[in-house]
């Protein structure tokens, strides 16, 4: 794994942790999604209780040049409420499945948040001034007796304590029979897609009463259903291209220009199964839990249960790179099936875009390309695509002082356990890191444990 030193190797330090300290986790506090906005100034989290919490980075303190600004709570609001489907006699969870930021167009910020059934566009705006000096109203709002008014004045804006308001501007409902797993904003910034288990719909951000169905894999006879959609994303540059992944480990790239209903893919990405690794659980562990395009759009990354794969969009028959996240779990699949951990949906992310330039460049050695994903025992993993080195780190309140470099962790798969190594059997499978995010420009990462949000940054010299 990554050793110390090396010019380009990042040394990660603990920066902050948000959330309750006690071990007793309230269900509503379970973090279900984490997302930086396009500038990295804002960091949003969604939880199982339907709330969105947005953190804002402090402006860099010029005197404290050795650390970047801290993230503090900027806004908290209840995005979704639990609902009841009377037809099916089932609850609709308010858990926030995904948050996606819109690029900033004016002073306000906009984000899409979704639960299983409904997507909402939220406007987050600041109010730091308020008009004062009304003629007919007192400052507290009471009306003045007009007979007491002797002079007229023009109300002026005066500063007030910053107030951040979140208001739902659009509600996109009733378009999904099945559970929404992904939303993705198109590069045209006018449309976005939402994907559930069997269908993908295309929306216009301004129009809430209709959406276009662009993918439908529901079979005529539900008994024949053997595959579901697990994730979908628009291409970062091509506004007619998107991909969706399936529970059978395939990724389909579709072009909306080809036909209205993109049931026929333009490309099908699938790696043939390795016969030596075949088991009862081959299909389940091949199910893709996340798909993310690289910033350039030339590659895409997929996460399945045990690995991260990098695909070149020009090559469909196999990934160009495969990274093993926790291969030591391969011999535990039966237990993990029994306790349902095998169905955990890990996400993955690329490092920030400013550091990746994948078009033809002479200076490729300076360009870092790192991917990150979570694992169990509050471990998370990073793979450096250039150096081919990887590192395992732990998100934990213990031994985490600011600006102390995180110690790499190692899991001992079998045999003698070395000092500081952790054996597979002592891993805590309840402590899983499913959601991670990388600041778009800096080496700052947000890592969500069950109910805590950790922020790490690289050591600035």
């Amino acid at each position: 794994f990554l050793g110390a030193g090396g010019g380009n190797d990042i040394q990660w330090c603990f920066s902050q942790v948000k959330g309750a300290v006690d071990d007793d986790v309230a269900e509503a506090d379970i973090i279900s999604t984490v997302e930086f906005n396009h500038s990295g100034e804002l960091l949003a989290t969604g939880d199982k209780g339907g709330r969105v919490v947005i953190f804002q980075q402090e402006q860099e303190n010029k005197t404290q040049s050795h650390s970047r600004g801290e993230y503090n709570v900027y806004s908290t609001f209840q995005s979704h409420e639990p609902e009841f489907d009377y037809l099916k006699s089932l609850e609709i969870e308010e858990k926030i499945n995904k948050i996606r930021w819109l690029p900033q167009k004016n002073a306000a910020q906009f984000l899409l948040s979704t639960n299983d059934k409904t997507i909402k566009l939220w406007k987050i705006s600041e109010r730091d001034k308020r008009p004062e000096g009304y003629n007919l109203k007192e400052e507290d709002g009471r009306y003045r007796d007009p007979t007491t008014v002797t002079t007229l004045r023009v109300p002026v804006f005066r500063p007030m304590d910053l107030m951040v308001e979140a208001s739902p501007r659009r509600i996109f409902a009733n378009a999904h029979t099945y559970h929404i797993n992904s939303i993705s904003i198109n590069s045209d910034y006018e449309t976005y897609l939402s994907a559930d288990d069997l269908r993908i719909n295309l929306w216009h951000l301004e129009i809430t009463d209709r959406s276009f169905n662009i993918v439908d894999i529901k079979p005529a006879n539900m008994e024949e259903l053997t595959e579901v959609i697990t994730a979908a994303e628009f291409h970062p540059n091509s506004c007619s291209t998107f991909v969706y992944s399936s529970s059978k480990g395939t990724i389909r790239l579709c072009d909306m220009r080809a036909s209205a209903l993109c049931d026929r893919h333009s490309k099908l990405f699938e790696e043939p199964e390795d016969p030596s690794n075949r088991s009862f659980f081959s299909e389940i562990i091949s199910s893709i839990s996340d798909v993310k395009f690289s910033h350039s759009g030339r590659y895409m990354m997929t996460r399945d249960y045990l690995s991260v794969k990098i695909w070149d969009l020009n090559m469909e028959n196999r990934p160009v790179e495969t990274y093993q996240v926790h291969e030591y779990l391969r011999s535990k699949l039966c237990s993990l099936y029994e306790n349902d951990c095998i169905f955990d949906k890990f996400e993955c992310c690329w490092n920030g875009s400013d550091r990746q330039v994948e078009f033809l460049s002479l200076c490729t050695s300076d360009l870092s390309s790192i991917v990150m994903t979570g694992s169990y025992n509050n471990f998370f993993r990073m793979f450096d695509r250039n150096t081919k080195r990887d590192i395992t780190l732990e998100a934990s309140r213990e031994n985490n002082k600011p600006r102390t470099v995180l110690k790499p962790r190692k899991v001992c798969a079998s045999g003698k356990r070395k000092k500081d190594e952790i054996s597979v059997d002592s891993l805590d499978f309840n402590k899983k890191i499913l959601h991670t995010a990388w600041h778009p420009k800096e080496n700052i990462i947000a890592v969500a444990t069950t109910n805590n949000l950790y922020i790490f940054q690289d050591k600035m010299n």
Binding site: L90, I92, E93
Partner: protein
């Protein structure tokens, strides 16, 4: 599902079932492979059974578990087809659905489950303590008379007569392959010889202590699960998820009702009416002949008729 064929020590503990899949064609390793498969099948069923969500269960999870069950069933079907096939009963599903209706009245509003007779009968040789009623039904509808000379054996349909030899040899095969056979196979093997061997049946039941689950799984496999499973798969995805519970609760109960393997006495007692009935049938064609040989049986006729009616639910 052929793995590399690496041999592993059989380990009753869960973790012993981990690791690479053993090739099912390996001799002694076949046991652990079969055991692993049974365990996974069991676990999969439990997951679909026991889910009582307030919210809709994850479709992805349901689909993956269903695929797992289907794959295992396919495997069993193929393995079953290596054994002598029973001729598909002409009346596929109704008798069994009748049985199910008895067990669970709530089931009756569903269409008769599309039980695949080939699925069912092809797996029969592996487990002889099946729902005896179903066997009776097969006998009822099989027209060709056949003389069964092996007395207290479970009665294969008369149409099986031509392949009977290969059937018993198949049973021997099973015995060979599985040194620690499930009680089902033990019953099949044992009963081929003598019905009075309730003793060995009992001992086989108690011997592999860690295996009751697998035996239940085995009998679950033998039940007309394929058909019901098809229904369940669809209703699992339909909006009315409560059907799921009814169906699976259905299977559960019926298994305990009809599974003689779970109790030694059950095994013995269930075998009795079967054998008597089987005698009845073999002698039926001869009813037109001189009555004298059948005299001793006439008195039991109505009694057996009654029993049959109850079992069939007609």
């Amino acid at each position: 599902m052929l793995g590399k064929g690496g041999k592993r020590k059989f380990d009753e503990h869960e973790d012993g079932l981990e690791g690479k899949v053993v090739s099912p064609t390996d001799g002694p390793s076949k046991v652990s492979y079969t055991l692993q498969r049974q365990t996974i099948f069991n676990i999969s069923l439990m997951k679909l059974y026991n889910h009582r969500p307030l919210t809709e269960p994850s479709l992805q999870k349901t689909v993956l578990i269903n695929n797992m069950l289907r794959r295992i069933q396919e495997e069993l079907k193929q393995e079953g087809s290596l054994r002598p096939m029973f001729v598909a009963a002409s009346q596929p599903a109704d008798p069994l659905s009748d049985n199910f209706r008895e067990a669970q009245p709530a089931f009756s509003h569903l269409a008769s489950p599309p039980l695949l007779p080939t699925d069912f009968v092809s797996t029969m040789p592996l487990e002889s303590c099946l729902t005896p009623a179903s066997l009776l039904e097969d006998d009822t509808f099989c027209t060709s008379p056949a003389v069964q000379h092996d007395g207290p054996t479970k009665p294969p349909p008369p149409a099986l007569q031509p392949v009977k030899d290969s059937f018993s040899s198949a049973l021997d095969e099973i015995e060979e392959l599985c040194p620690a056979p499930t009680s089902a196979e033990a019953v099949a093997a044992e009963s081929a010889a003598d019905d009075s061997k309730a003793q060995p049946i009992e001992s086989n039941i108690h011997k592999p202590e860690g295996l009751p689950e697998s035996r239940t799984a085995e009998s679950k496999l033998m039940d007309p699960l394929p058909g019901n499973f098809e229904i369940t798969a669809s209703t699992g995805f339909l909006t009315d998820l409560t059907l799921d519970d009814i169906l699976f609760a259905d299977i559960d109960t019926s298994m305990y009702d009809f599974d003689p393997c779970t109790s030694a006495t059950g095994a013995a007692s269930k075998m009795a009416p079967v054998s008597a009935d089987e005698l009845l049938k073999t002698l039926a064609p001869y009813s037109s002949q001189p009555v004298t040989p059948n005299q001793p049986f006439k008195m039991d006729l109505t009694e057996l008729d009654h029993i049959m009616e109850v079992l069939v639910g007609s």
